[in-house]
């Protein structure tokens, strides 16, 4: 009987990841340095799940990152640096003059 109920419009699972809102207003992004020891702690503190371990390395999925900077603050080894950038209608590029 439950199976006979009409199917109402519903969202496809995880469909927001295809067009993330946050990455469009990012002003800085993390760069993971060589000091990283793969403790994976940052992966639990990222609001977007942008930090992933792939093939024994930590990578930042820039399509998801909105540049909050929590990972850089929380990293115990200070292995993550935030690099400022311009994000907008013209695309994404680093600010050259900025000292990190």
């Amino acid at each position: 009987m439950i199976k006979d109920l009409p199917v109402v419009p519903s969202a496809k699972a995880g469909s927001m990841a295809a067009a993330p809102a946050g990455a469009a207003w990012r002003e800085q992004h993390p760069v993971i340095g060589t000091a990283c020891n793969q403790c994976l702690e940052c992966t639990l503190f990222c609001p977007e799940g942008a930090l992933v371990q792939t093939g024994g390395n930590m990578t930042v999925m820039l399509s998801l990152c909105n540049g909050c900077g929590i990972c850089a603050v929380e990293c115990r080894l200070q292995a993550i640096a935030m690099v400022r950038e311009y994000t907008g209608v013209s695309g994404v590029f680093p600010l050259r003059e900025e000292k990190v």
Partner: protein
């Protein structure tokens, strides 16, 4: 049993692409919680930031079924889902009602109290940003003493309501407090709650950078300070047995309060008053910072 980060699932059942603000504490709590709850989970969320940031129209940031309910009824909806699953003989699903501090302690309280009293087999998670942040930060019953909010510019004059004590008064089997700054503690507590077939309550501190007046990168750091200074105690009550799950290092409460814009009006007297209250609560020497 001690958890390790390496044992946790890598996949994200909530999070990627969510429309939360930068450094959103609620989104962090959601991601950490789903590491514990797993793919066999159904979530009901009332009107709140979490509902807004995790889906609108035909898009969602959840990989599990997620129902956006009316404000007052998230635990009632979860209880209904549990009843429907029971009727179909489905036993391996966690049903979670996930509400903010308003959806838990104020507007949603009657249905929460009802579900707790009936001992419906659901987990209620309160993600507590201590203000009504989805409507621009008004005062609620979970707003702490002296915090400035958008409708109380001089700061709140009454204390925060102790939701864990209220929920425990219902005689529920499991209640715990957690913080996004201590993810393994949070995950262990939710795993415990999920393993039970009775009503459980988990209250998570999730800072909001806008409401609290902190930089976006400080959400987790501030939550950690709240724990370390003793103002946010991490504990659980399992079948009536209370256990503190993390011993704070007792940094001065000023280190937690001073960096926050919402406490900018605090005078030294009031900070000392809060320090004294913490010292009394933990039976520490008077006057010791």
């Amino acid at each position: 049993m001690t958890l390790s980060i390496k044992d946790l699932p890598q996949e994200d059942l909530f999070g990627p692409g969510n429309a939360g603000c930068r450094g959103c504490g609620a989104a962090i709590a959601g991601r950490q919680a789903m590491k514990a709850l797993g793919p066999r989970t159904i979530v009901s969320i009332p009107a709140s930031c979490m509902a807004t940031l995790s889906g609108s129209n035909q898009r969602t940031a959840w990989q599990v079924p997620f129902y956006h309910t009316l404000f007052e009824i998230a635990p009632a909806v979860a209880a209904g889902i549990r009843a429907a699953l029971d009727a179909q003989g489905i036993r391996d699903v966690n049903v979670v009602s996930w509400a903010g501090d308003a959806g838990t302690a104020d507007i949603g309280f009657q249905s929460l109290s009802g579900a707790a009293e009936r001992n419906d087999a659901i987990i209620h998670v309160c993600y507590d940003n201590e203000m009504y942040m989805n409507t621009n930060g008004q005062t609620g019953s979970q707003t702490p003493l002296y915090a400035i909010t958008s409708n109380q510019r001089k700061g709140k004059q009454t204390c925060k309501k102790d939701m864990l004590a209220i929920m425990l008064a219902h005689g529920i089997g499991y209640a715990a407090s957690a913080s996004i700054s201590h993810p393994l503690d949070l995950i262990a507590k939710l795993k415990k709650a999920a393993a039970r077939r009775s009503f459980s309550y988990v209250h998570i501190l999730t800072p909001c950078y806008r409401g609290w007046g902190i930089p976006t990168d400080q959400s987790v750091a501030v939550a950690r300070k709240a724990v370390e200074c003793g103002l946010w105690e991490l504990y659980e009550v399992e079948d009536g047995v209370r256990r503190r799950t993390y011993e704070p290092s007792f940094i001065p409460v000023a280190e937690y309060l001073a960096p926050q814009g919402r406490f900018k009006n605090l005078t030294a007297d009031k900070i000392q008053e809060m320090q004294d209250a913490v010292n009394r609560y933990y039976h520490r020497e008077e006057g010791k910072a």
